[in-house]
Symmetry: C2
């Protein structure tokens, strides 16, 4: 059998997993691996250190290499490397979510011009098969919604806050010690990571170009233990949800935000670092995929699956994997958060004053906000009451105006939380 | 664009869904549809009745047809039709689980000889993408276990028994009225349907030929409300589980059986007619797929996904979808149920007699059965006690011998249930 030569750029956690996983596949030969530091000791059984190089361009310009596997991450120099590789007619496998979210459309177009494919199963939800299923076996579907728990770090933090009743800050510190959160956790806890992933998923599901800068993004740093306890009492779990909806008029509503997820919704049951993707479409209905969203081996499963898929077709066709190519012509019309309609949970600290509930109710009323539930949650020693409001569906700009008005009242100490509530459309 | 002609055999629920779904795909032309009764009124918008025929062989022998889609079900005449179609170099898409379980290996070999593919996403778990993901994006994995809820009818019955506290017989009658169970429910409730599906899944996951007749099969007809209540008290749900394990020595343990599933296991949360497939492998770890296991449209999603996958490759290669071909050379060594090790739940009705618990304990003891839990569940008016035993891991033949011995004791009225307990290996 003729071996297919691949070049690997990056030999960190994922790269090591790829090397170990590919070893048993006799039709694949890793002929070069680019690393940052040639002197670094590598503990990978069977690794031939002679194939290491610190010049990644020697890989993308290597005539014998048919598939370039990029697992270094970040935009630079990954973007240049991948563009050069594509122009050199190499197929690409990448796990680089940031690069795809920011430069995906440019890269897909360049790949089509050069008749090569860019596969990126590992970039979204680690080991969970979602990109290839959407492009192939689900191709007959019109997808209406994709919603997911796409960031393990934040899901771990929210799970532990719920289980242990411990604050965000305390759980974060533990997560950092356990290696579940980075020293600078911003990318995870502020929703950047999930936004990169939902940008690519939305583009794929709706066949449109998505502007990452227009994705509404809210992190989990302001979630309090009170919010989590109240959610539970009302039949919800708080999860960081990446969600993309196609409206009836074809616009896209794409966001990353903490949400009150109803207990009956499958996503409420996804705990710790596990990821999940829920897809609604026709004719398939609702399906869900669950698994490890990160880690050396789960991610390697997806990278290697992509490599094997290209390798299987290369010997027999000049246009491998026609269904795996992306050719989105139209730029999506993305809805501004202010124009969206949502249900909300609002937590308000107020003086324990007879008129306060009435004032909040009235303020919501003349801002076109229906209330589904309003309850007072006990009174502090200093006479402060916590008032919880669950609204019906209302417009974001109306809720923002109402909050501003509520905050301006002297009896109101603080509006501590405003969290959107997932509707239970996908209940059985 | 050159249209690809397909022939459809069967225009029942699934066939209708396929016709409606394919309408918008301009590269596909349904040129003939075989039906049983030409006179029957069809209520399918846009259906050209001129393409109907009552001679399915006119489809498999039609020179212009490139893909034959078989959604008629049953072995005869589907087997003959598909064999003829393959010999005529047509690609096959089928939803026929029984045919694949009984004649799959013969058909896959014939397909390979004739350089065509047989795709069958719709045969297992309806709309859930599982066959194509296992064959393609998960191809780098060694799979150790596949476990699933693959039969919607039985899952609906068990869910309703649990929710409503109503007997098997009563729920079955309701399910029949609602169309969730057939007039003769044997194929579902005795586990035949799930056995067909797990046979094909196991063969696929472990790359071996599987003998459907050697799959251990137990249905849900003997499950009592007492079993379901006791399960819940102990932290389990009873589910009909189709499960295939590869042992360390490479043998396969494949069964369909009701199981006590720990509440922490994701499968315990799959309710009503929903299906789920849980897969454990390396490097991916544990992943789960959830969705509708049957129905016109979910099943059509899978059938059409298969059709589109073939159609996409046909113009550019003479050997489409190389990863989707099956070439299992070895017959699996399948383990007899008597040789397996399991944990068990045993429910025993006995005279409320001081010595009974001791006798049961002793009988288990000298049959090498460790007990994890033994409890007495109240006493009837006639002095009958219900004794519940949860064992540790022990051999099936030992438990059967112990049960026989327990039953022979005069104080024992009846061993009412013996249900295997799923171990929580896949807990996070």
């Amino acid at each position: 059998m003729d071996k297919i030569s691949i070049g690997l750029i990056g030999l960190g956690t994922v790269g090591s997993g790829v090397v170990k996983t590919l070893e048993k596949f006799e039709n694949i030969n890793i002929s070069k691996i680019a690393v940052r530091n040639l002197a670094k000791k590598r503990n990978i059984e069977g690794l031939d250190e002679n194939i290491l190089t610190d010049d990644p361009f020697s890989i993308v310009n290597d005539e014998d290499i048919k598939i370039v596997v990029e697992v270094m991450g970040g935009v630079n120099p990954a973007l240049d490397l991948i563009k050069t590789a594509i122009k050199n007619k190499k197929h690409i496998v990448t796990a680089n979510k940031e690069l795809l979210a920011k430069y995906g459309d440019e890269l897909y177009a360049l790949a089509n011009e050069n008749n090569v494919v860019i596969l990126y199963e590992a970039a979204i939800a680690g080991g969970i098969p979602i990109i290839m299923p959407i492009k192939t076996i689900l191709a007959a579907n019109e997808i209406f919604q994709i919603a997911g728990i796409l960031n393990g770090t934040t899901n771990y933090i929210l799970t532990k806050m719920d289980e242990l009743g411990v604050s965000y800050k305390d759980v974060l510190e533990d997560a950092q010690k356990l290696g579940y959160a980075e020293a600078d956790p911003t990318g995870d806890v502020e929703g950047y990571d999930a936004a990169y992933k939902i940008a690519t998923l939305a583009s794929l599901a709706f066949h449109q170009k998505v502007d990452i800068n227009k994705i509404y993004k809210e992190g989990i740093t302001k979630i309090t233990i009170d919010d989590i306890k109240t959610a539970k009492e009302l039949g919800y779990k708080i999860k960081l949800i990446a969600i993309a909806n196609k409206t009836d008029d074809g616009r896209l509503d794409i966001r990353v935000q903490p949400m009150f997820v109803p207990m009956e919704n499958s996503l409420s049951k996804i705990d710790n670092v596990t990821n999940a993707v829920l897809l609604n479409g026709f004719p398939v209905g609702e399906i869900m995929f669950v698994g490890a969203g990160a880690g050396e081996f789960p991610t390697a499963s997806s990278v290697c699956g992509d490599i094997l898929a290209i390798a299987a077709e290369l010997p027999n066709t000049l246009t491998p994997l026609p269904m795996m190519r992306t050719n989105n012509k139209n730029q999506a019309e993305q809805i501004d958060i202010n124009e969206t309609y949502n249900k909300y949970y609002i937590s308000i600290k107020a003086a324990d004053n007879v008129g306060v509930i009435g004032f909040i109710g009235a303020t919501c009323g003349y801002n076109n906000i229906n209330l589904e539930n309003m309850l007072q949650k006990g009174i502090d020693k200093d006479g402060t009451a916590r008032i919880i409001v669950i609204t019906g569906l209302c417009k974001e700009e109306h809720i923002r105006r109402a909050i501003k008005e509520i905050q301006s009242n002297n009896s109101i100490k603080e509006v501590t939380s405003l969290i959107r509530v997932m509707e239970n459309a996908n209940k059985e």
